[in-house]
Point group: C2
Chain length 419, copies 2
Amino acid sequence: MTTHSATLAIDERVQARRAAGHDVLHLGFGEAGLPVPPGLADVLAAAHRRNGYGPVAGSAEAREAAAGWFVRRGLPTGPEQILFAPGSKPLLFALLAAIGGAVVLPCPSWVSYAAQAALLGRRVVPVPVPAEAGGIPDPGLLERALRRASAEGAGPGVLILTVPDNPTGTVAPAEQVEAVCAIAEHHGLAVVSDEIYAELTHGGSAPSPVRQLAERTVVTTGLSKSLALGGWRIGFARTPAGPWGRRLHRELTGIASEIWSSLAAPMQAVAAHALNDPPEITARIAASRRLHARVATAVHGRLLAAGAHCRPPRAGFYLYPDFTPAREALRTRSIATGTDLATALLDRYDIATLPGSAFGEPDTALTLRIATSLLYGTTPEQRHAALAADAPETLPWIASALTRLGGALGGLITGGHPG
Amino acid sequence: MTTHSATLAIDERVQARRAAGHDVLHLGFGEAGLPVPPGLADVLAAAHRRNGYGPVAGSAEAREAAAGWFVRRGLPTGPEQILFAPGSKPLLFALLAAIGGAVVLPCPSWVSYAAQAALLGRRVVPVPVPAEAGGIPDPGLLERALRRASAEGAGPGVLILTVPDNPTGTVAPAEQVEAVCAIAEHHGLAVVSDEIYAELTHGGSAPSPVRQLAERTVVTTGLSKSLALGGWRIGFARTPAGPWGRRLHRELTGIASEIWSSLAAPMQAVAAHALNDPPEITARIAASRRLHARVATAVHGRLLAAGAHCRPPRAGFYLYPDFTPAREALRTRSIATGTDLATALLDRYDIATLPGSAFGEPDTALTLRIATSLLYGTTPEQRHAALAADAPETLPWIASALTRLGGALGGLITGGHPG
């Protein structure tokens, strides 16, 4: 049986709890939590005459815009290297289907990689992430895991990296990305680099594997996170130049033609507009990047204050605290696993998070994935105010959520009463 | 290697040929070829604030509208039985993934069923269609094929029916649908009923398998054909009531959550509006149904005049002529297969069609799938005029295309010169 994506499942559970009258603090879902960027509503409305299927890979206009977007980020790219899809999820699925072999994953990693591999009957080889930052396997452990998997006949075919990372909200250091790419090259792996958070790196840019392993790295991305357009379902991939990349693009387009046909044409028009980097879009991304960094940093402070270990946030809107330091205190409250911890937070405090087990960790890990982006408010006015604020963490609705989270964690760990 | 969907591939080939200056008569692609129905542009524009992912199966509003749509068509349905997706293709793929077992298909049948089964590593059991109408296996041959497949250990799990049918443009007779459903029930098969052309049945309604095998039949459909919205990618499925149907809906939603998340929220708003059957939508469907019937019937006349066998069109905008009666004449022009025939039409006359082999037939069959919907015109004005005309086949651009097709077929078969 396939299980429902853990991230989407917690969102539906929260909506049901809210419908039943609960005041839920929703830290469980990686939705960017911001209004549609300026200009895009008009582009969508103007695209209504586009009702034909069009080319599977995307319109010439959309593919040229995406290629230019990569070029302006320092990566020579032609429109023939681009493939659009209704989100980056279908692209990741098609990539696993096209490339074949066992799927090597950092652990923890985003919920759907392993689930997609399971749907395709592929074995997963999980490799723990380094101490500094997630999204890539620890280079030393990777080499060992690949040798063992090959010896067992598991035939690793593809390594998925997440740079910047969800669930940890970190950016892997360039030298570690280089080391991982060198190992992948040595073992003949293809690399899928999920870069959907690249525009949301809090300071500077993230080191893409495509710069290390140009001919064997596919980049997937989309507008769901940087432009808060999860519900518009716009994703795209960049396949490498060179013969392997050209064959892969053909194969992916074939799979796309049989599973989803094309990205909705009006959404391609939106992508063509936004990927030309008009100034109001660039400004919106910059503002949301600042907001994500400020609020994630504030939540990070509450987690440390409650006694958790937690890597400092460097991109996106995620934190991945580890409550091992509080293991004994939690055990006295019958909390022995990450799932126990997430359940206690939801049942006793109406705070929604996800346990590390949703991201491939053993449930004995006392880890949680905390998404901070749904703290920005529930109304468009609150969200615009959060975008505009110099210190968004001091806005009343955000500050009170921070206090509530701190109180709940304190209550669970020290036995204080729910605040 | 996956091959590119034949129908989408011919469309891209035609666009390339046109870009190179050719005047191509495009009979190769099942796009409805009509303008966006009235009212929907405003609905799309008004939905621009919906940028959240929302529930995987679709918003409550969209699922209620879809359930009501089925109820008004005589099929009691609750919103919990509905699942939306970016087109019906992903739903068909998820159904094959969820149900398991070998995939039993009518032959010929739509190009993507067998391709999806191949992507999932599933065996296909093709069974020829009856003489009268396609979309279902011949009942007598089905029983035999299932016994043989089971004896060979192929474990048939799901039977896909297309009612009304693409590629034949016909509607299976009710008694044959009943016979096929009885056999499916006896063998414990699930039935997937692809009803994307149901609203375009030229006279009356099509007999849905769901009325025979209620607890084991899943209906897939969408707005691509009846509302000419292929490029908006709106599909939905109705799972059966009862425990099997409930389990299947959960399983499908799980797969959806890992492969595509949800249908784009603005497109769900469009679906919610259109599926409430507002009068201007009902009128547009009625007008397009008349247009499809008139033009398909006119093309049918040309095919018979050229000496082909061809079932009369009863739904949608397809014809499936068989040029066996002209086999000897065609052989003198080095045309021995359906592919030869389609290639000659494209290379010598710039007329695009697809050979029967794209639909699972052996290439020795001299069959073509002809889509008539791209004859309505290339401008919105021509298409509106076609919708409004009492005798659209007499409009100059349609009449001349008919003449051109007749001349090309005559030329190929009798050796006359291209007209």
